[in-house]
């Protein structure tokens, strides 16, 4: 079945700018804030957020790290094939900083739980916020809610949301539906 387009490229730019202005409201000049993108797909969106913030606040340094959560997942040994880890690149300590975790899609909340666990390996943050491009509402298995939401989506278990971002700044969000898929 052909996927439905949830967000097209133009909308994505608008949403990203809106999220950035919301971030600026809360974080001022970002001097005590770090952004952590969750591997693999949250990293690309975190980079997009950083780029847009730098356009709005020229010359301002905005800390960005990539966090891999593979070793902190709660489904190790419950899968047939272990997930391949990705690179973690956090070149600063988050001790005392305000951290914004960024992911593309929030679904069950388990990735974010693992992300918070992994994040603590780099210090004790002053506060943690969560920014997601897509919030799949009513699907949570853990008590985790985002601070900033690009768009909320009501979806079924047999649907899959895919965020496609390319380096040129284009991108879109698609919704795939597979009959009888136990995702």
């Amino acid at each position: 079945m052909r996927p439905a387009t949830l967000i097209d490229s133009e909308h994505l730019t608008l949403i990203t700018r809106r999220l950035c202005y919301q971030l600026i409201e809360n974080h001022d000049d970002f001097s005590n804030t770090a952004i952590l993108g969750l591997q693999p797909r949250g990293v690309a969106y975190a980079r997009r957020i950083q780029k847009t913030l730098q356009e709005i606040l020229p010359g301002q340094e905005i800390l960005l790290g990539n966090l891999d959560i593979t070793f902190h997942r709660d489904d190790f040994r419950r899968r047939d094939i272990p997930l391949a880890p990705n690179q973690t690149e956090v070149n600063f300590l988050i001790e005392g900083k305000k951290v914004i975790l960024v992911d593309d899609v929030l679904y069950t909340g388990r990735t974010i739980r693992a992300g918070m666990d992994a994040m603590l390996s780099f210090g004790r943050p002053a506060a943690v916020e969560l920014l997601v491009l897509i919030d799949r509402r009513f699907q949570r298995q853990l008590p985790i809610e985002p601070t900033y939401i690009g768009r909320s989506v009501d979806s079924y278990d047999n649907q899959r949301v895919e965020v496609k971002l390319d380096a040129e700044g284009e991108g879109k969000v698609l919704l795939y539906t597979t009959p009888n898929n136990n995702e």
Binding site: F71, F76, P82, N86
Partner: protein
């Protein structure tokens, strides 16, 4: 592929090239983990590992134990010196007794070649060979190759010379298998008495001249003269004296300088400074001896992690 083709790590012989690549990719991530401010991840928190050392070991045991603890596994240690093995218990009984206490993985070192393979056929657990007699020492070979890859970029086509006591060395055999699977050329160099007959059949070059070997290789992996093993065959001397061995096969800075090339220096430890290698070589910029030790923990974490993922949950 992101799963090993084997259920145990008994020797490099049983691994595919893809397995080695997967272990290296995973080790890369663990190397980042052990350089974090908090060097611990919770992956193996519901796994219990028994380290069974029927033969003395300091660094391998320490390295395994650190790897296990940094993956949050529960660890129990056993050494033959203080156990019922001395009272006549068989290997299978010893291990089955330990497994009855709900242990998921066994890391074992044993003086008899093939002991881990034998055990893997008779007990129901995941086994990692930490050295069996003069047979294999797979994690050492993996960390050696990983360190080489880190230094050279790619092992394929690299010329590696293993110098010293090849006959009594499990490190040498595992290294030969591992390097060949990764596409390196291997030479062994040492006194005739310390090189096994027919070793050419493994596809390695043989040299009895250290200068010639150094002139050929990109990497020299220098092994320790295992004085404790020279006594296995009581009446046999493999070389007249340590002094003579050093004169013939010891590596010093001048020899390296004479080759006019940079040679990566490796040593699995413990080093007998001034015997197989002089201090200026061991501490030179081209030496990766301490990187090997650091990589040892990361590689062992990768092996434990990948093998543990295959353990079923009951």
């Amino acid at each position: 592929m992101s799963k090993l083709s084997v259920d145990h790590l008994l020797g490099i012989k049983y691994l595919l090239k893809e397995d080695i690549d997967l272990i290296f990719d995973t080790a890369q991530n663990f190397k980042e983990v052990i350089n974090r401010p908090i060097r611990k991840v919770p992956s193996l928190r519901d796994i219990t590992v028994a380290n069974l050392f029927f033969e003395n070991s300091t660094r391998t045991k320490l390295s395994f134990e650190l790897a296990e603890k940094r993956l949050s596994a529960d660890v129990v240690n056993f050494s033959a010196a203080s156990s019922s093995v001395k009272k006549g218990e068989t290997l299978i009984d010893t291990v089955n007794n330990i497994l009855s206490m709900k242990v998921d993985m066994v890391v074992m070192r044993h003086p008899n070649p093939g002991a881990p393979v034998f055990l893997s056929r008779h007990v129901n657990t995941t086994i990692i060979n930490a050295g069996d007699g003069t047979h294999e020492h797979p994690t050492q070979a993996l960390l050696d190759a990983y360190s080489m890859q880190e230094k050279l970029g790619d092992i394929k086509g690299a010329k590696v010379c293993i110098v010293g006591d090849i006959k009594h060395s499990r490190v040498a055999l595992s290294n030969i298998f591992c390097l060949q699977k990764l596409g390196a050329e291997v030479m062994v160099c040492g006194p005739t008495t310390l090189i096994p007959k027919h070793i050419e059949s493994l596809g390695v070059k043989v040299s009895h001249n250290i200068k010639e070997a150094l002139g050929w290789c990109d990497v020299a992996n220098v092994l320790r003269i295992q004085l404790e093993r020279q006594g296995d065959e009581k009446d046999v001397s493999f070389f007249p004296s340590l002094r003579e061995y050093t004169q013939q096969f010891g590596i010093n800075g001048e020899m390296i300088a004479n080759t006019g090339r940079k040679i990566v220096i490796m040593h699995p430890g413990p080093i007998n400074r001034g015997v197989e290698i002089t201090s200026d070589v061991a501490d030179s910029a081209e030496s990766v001896i301490l990187d090997q030790v650091e990589n040892g923990v990361a590689v062992r974490m990768a092996v434990l992690y990948l093998l543990a993922s295959g353990i079923g949950r009951n």
